[in-house]
C-alpha cells in the first residue's frame, strides 16, 4: 500500500508533477537524441571504415607502416591467403600492393598511394565497387537533388569493366575534379620501379568513386595489381598489405591470435590499432552518452529535490499523523523515495519513449547535416547521419533515472524523518 500511496501522492498536485515530468522528458529526450546522433555518426564512420578502408585486420611487414618502403613486403602471399581464408572467423581476404606515386593530367599533378588490387578478390572484401554513384543513386541515398546533380555526369564509369587491355585506374570524384579528369580520360602515373628508377605510364580512368571520407578519396587511387607490377617490374606476387574481413559475430582477440599464428614475423593489427582515432571514438561512445546524461540528470535531480522538499513541507501534518499511528522511519523513507523515483521515472519513461520514436524515425530517414557536410566529410564522416541507440543504452538510462530519483529523495526524506510527530500533527 505504501507504493500505492506514493503513486497517488505524485498526482495530488497534478500541475506541479506534470511540470517536473515535462522537464525530465524534454531534458532526457534532448540528451538521448544528441547522443544517438553522435553514436550514429561514429558508428556509421566505423562501419564505412571497416567496409571500405581498413577492414577488421591487416597484415604488413613490421616496418611497412613506418615509411611505406616498397621493399617491406609480405612474402609468399598466395599460401598465406589460402590459410587465412580457411580460418572460421574470416569472411574475406585480399592482398594489395601499395606504392607511392604521382597521378597527373595536363592540368595538375597529385601525389597519391597507388593501390594495386585484384578486382575480383577486392570486390568480396570492400565496398569500393559500390562506391561509384551516379546521380540517381545519390538521390536514392537521400542527397538533396541539387547536390546529387552537382556530382559528375550521369555515368561515373565502371569497376574495372572497360573492354581493352590498356591499364585502368579508379580515381575519386574529388581527385577527378582536381585533375579535371573524367571517365575515359587518360592520366599519367609516375612512380619508382623495382630498381629505384622513375618510371611512368598512361592509365585510363574507368571509374570514379566517392566515399564519405574526403581524406581517403584524395589520397588513394586503385589499379589492377597486374598493371602495377607490369609498369614497375616488381615480382608478380608483390604484396604490401593483406586485409581481412571477419564474420559479424567474430571474437577479435581470438581472430588476432589465429592470424598471428599463421603470419609469423609479420605485423598483425586490428582496426582499432590501425585507426586509433576511430578506435577511441568507438570506445568513448557509451561514455559520452552517460557523461551527457549524468549532467542533464544532475540538473533535473536538483529540480526534483526542490519539488520533493515542497511536498514534505506541505504534508508536515500528514507525516506527523503517519508517524503517530505507527508508520516507522523505514516506511516513511520508502514512501518519499518511491514518490521521488515514481516522479522521475514517469518523466524518464516518457522521455525514453519520445526518444525511441524520434531515434527510430530519424534512424530511418537520416538527419541531413549537409550544411556542415564539407567539414564532416573532410574528417571522414558522412553528411547524412542516422541516429541510433542500443537497447542496453535504454536500460542504462532507466537505471540512471532510478538512481537520480533515489539520490534526489534522500534529502527530502531525511527532512521528513526529522519531524517530531507531536509538533507535526498540530502544525497548520
Amino acid at each position: 500500500m505504501i507504493a500505492t500511496i506514493a503513486w497517488k501522492n505524485i498526482w495530488r498536485n497534478r500541475t506541479r508533477s506534470l511540470v517536473v515530468v515535462a522537464a525530465t522528458t524534454i531534458g532526457l529526450t534532448g540528451a538521448v537524441l544528441v547522443s544517438a546522433l553522435s553514436i550514429g555518426m561514429v558508428a556509421d564512420r566505423v562501419e564505412v571504415a571497416l567496409r571500405d578502408e581498413v577492414s577488421h585486420i591487416q597484415i604488413h611487414h613490421p616496418l611497412f607502416l613506418d615509411n611505406f618502403e616498397s621493399q617491406h613486403r609480405v612474402g609468399a602471399p598466395g599460401d598465406l591467403l589460402e590459410k587465412l581464408e580457411a580460418l572460421p572467423q574470416v569472411e574475406a581476404v585480399a592482398a594489395r600492393s601499395v606504392l607511392t606515386g604521382m597521378v597527373s593530367t595536363a592540368q595538375k599533378a597529385v601525389g597519391v598511394s597507388l593501390i594495386g588490387i585484384n578486382p575480383e578478390r577486392e570486390k568480396l572484401l570492400t565496398g569500393l565497387w559500390q562506391s561509384l554513384p551516379n546521380s540517381l543513386q545519390l538521390l536514392e541515398r537521400g542527397f538533396a537533388p541539387e547536390r546529387a546533380s552537382a556530382y559528375l555526369a550521369d555515368s561515373v564509369g565502371s569497376y574495372f569493366a572497360e573492354p581493352g587491355r590498356s591499364p585502368q585506374i579508379l580515381i575519386s570524384e574529388r581527385l577527378a575534379r582536381e585533375l579535371k579528369a573524367q571517365v575515359r580520360s587518360r592520366v599519367l602515373v609516375q612512380l619508382l620501379d623495382a630498381q629505384g628508377y622513375m618510371t611512368g605510364g598512361q592509365f585510363r580512368v574507368v571509374g570514379i568513386f566517392s566515399t564519405s571520407n574526403a581524406m581517403f578519396d584524395e589520397s588513394q587511387v586503385f589499379v589492377r595489381q597486374s598493371d602495377l607490377v607490369a609498369l614497375t617490374g616488381h615480382e608478380p606476387e608483390l604484396c604490401h598489405e593483406i586485409a581481412l574481413r571477419l564474420t559479424p559475430e567474430h571474437d577479435m582477440a581470438e581472430a588476432l591470435a589465429d592470424v598471428t599464428a599463421l603470419a609469423p614475423g609479420l605485423s598483425v593489427m586490428d582496426w582499432k590499432t590501425l585507426k586509433p582515432d576511430l578506435g577511441l571514438s568507438y570506445e568513448m561512445l557509451d561514455a559520452m552518452l552517460y557523461i551527457m546524461l549524468s549532467i542533464i540528470l544532475m540538473a533535473l535531480g536538483f529540480g526534483i529535490v526542490n519539488t520533493m522538499l515542497m511536498v514534505v513541507l506541505e504534508r508536515v501534518k500528514e507525516l506527523g499523523m503517519l508517524m503517530a499511528i505507527g508508520m516507522n522511519k523505514k516506511r516513511i523513507f520508502a514512501m518519499i523515495m518511491l514518490e521521488t523515483v515514481g516522479l522521475s521515472l514517469t518523466g524518464g519513461l516518457a522521455g525514453m519513449l519520445l526518444s525511441a520514436l524520434l531515434v527510430g524515425y530519424l534512424g530511418q530517414v537520416g538527419v541531413d547535416l549537409s550544411a556542415f557536410g564539407e567539414g564532416l566529410e573532410a574528417v571522414g564522416y558522412s553528411a547524412i547521419v542516422y541516429p541510433r541507440l542500443n537497447w542496453d543504452n535504454y536500460l542504462g538510462i532507466t537505471l540512471m533515472v532510478i538512481l537520480t530519483g533515489v539520490l534526489a529523495s534522500i534529502y527530502p526524506a531525511l527532512k521528513a524523518l526529522s519531524l517530531k510527530p507531536a509538533e507535526a500533527v498540530r502544525s497548520e
Binding site: 500500500m1 500511496i5 497517488k8 501522492n9 495530488r12 501534518k317 500528514e318 506527523g320 499523523m321 503517519l322 508517524m323 503517530a324 499511528i325 505507527g326 508508520m327 516507522n328 522511519k329 516506511r331 517530531k420 510527530p421 507531536a422 500533527v425 498540530r426
Partner: protein, 231 residues
C-alpha cells in the same frame, strides 16, 4: 486492572522567555474500558499530557506504564511499534490520508501491523458500519463532511484493537449535531470494543458525556471525579 499508570509526570519546555512546566507532577490511573475527559482551559497542559501518554513526546520526569510497559524504556523504533499496536489516535483536524478511501484509511493501520488482507478488510468494513459510514466505504476524505471524516478517524483509531484511544479535542471542529453523533459513537464503541477512551476537551457537551472528568490547571490535576453521563 490498570491499563495506564502515570506517576509524578512532568514536562518542561524552554521558551525564549523562561522555562515552562506544561505538565507538573501528574499521577493518574486509568482502568480498562474507561471513558474519561481531560478538561481545562487553553494552556492547562491537556494536549501535552495526551502527547506524553501517546508516546509522541518525552517526559522530563516521572513515568508512564501502559499494560506494564514503561514507555521511557522503549527505544524510538520500539515506541513506534508500541503505538501501532496499543494506542489509537483521533486528532482535532481528522488527519486522514487524503489519497485513500475511507476503507483504505481504516485498513492502513492494520496493514502496518501486517494483518492479512481479508481480516483487515472485514474489520474495516465492520468499524465503518459501526460509525454509520457503511455506505461511504469508497469515499475519499475530500468527499466527506467534517463529522464523517472524524468518524472515519475513530474507526481508524480502533482498527488496530488498541489498549486505549487518545482523542485530542475530537469535536472542536464539528457542529453540535456532528459532535453529539460522534460522542454517541465513541461511547458505544467504548462499550462494545472495551477500549479505554481518553479525550481532551473544553466542550461542555463532551464533558457531560464522560464517566470520569479530570480537571487540569497549570499542568496540575485539580480535580478527578467520576460522574453519571448525561444524555
Amino acid at each position: 486492572m490498570n491499563v495506564i499508570e502515570i506517576e509524578n509526570l512532568s514536562k518542561e519546555y524552554q521558551t525564549p522567555a523562561a522555562k515552562v512546566r506544561a505538565v507538573d507532577g501528574v499521577s493518574l490511573r486509568f482502568e480498562r474500558g474507561e471513558f474519561a475527559a481531560i478538561v481545562g482551559p487553553s494552556g492547562s497542559g491537556k494536549t501535552t499530557l495526551l502527547n506524553l501518554l501517546g508516546g509522541l513526546d518525552q517526559a522530563t520526569a516521572g513515568s508512564i506504564r501502559i499494560a506494564g510497559t514503561d514507555l521511557a524504556s522503549l527505544r524510538p523504533g520500539q515506541l513506534i511499534d508500541f503505538r501501532k499496536d496499543n494506542i489509537g489516535f483521533v486528532f482535532q483536524s481528522y488527519n486522514l490520508i487524503p489519497v485513500l478511501t475511507a476503507l483504505e484509511n481504516v485498513e492502513f493501520v492494520m496493514q502496518l501491523q501486517g494483518r492479512p488482507k481479508a481480516e483487515r478488510r472485514a474489520r474495516a468494513v465492520e468499524l465503518l458500519e459501526a460509525v454509520g459510514l457503511g455506505e461511504r466505504l469508497d469515499s475519499r476524505p475530500g468527499q466527506l463532511s467534517g463529522g464523517q471524516q472524524q468518524r472515519v478517524a475513530v474507526a481508524r483509531a480502533l482498527a488496530s484493537k488498541p489498549q486505549f484511544v487518545l482523542a485530542d479535542e475530537p469535536t472542536a471542529n464539528l457542529d453540535s449535531r456532528s459532535a453529539l453523533t460522534l460522542l454517541e459513537i465513541m461511547e458505544r464503541l467504548n462499550r462494545e470494543e472495551g477500549a479505554t477512551f481518553i479525550f481532551s476537551t473544553h466542550d461542555p457537551r463532551v464533558v457531560a458525556k464522560a464517566r470520569r472528568v479530570i480537571w487540569l490547571e497549570d499542568g496540575k490535576v485539580v480535580s478527578d471525579k467520576t460522574q453519571e453521563p448525561t444524555i
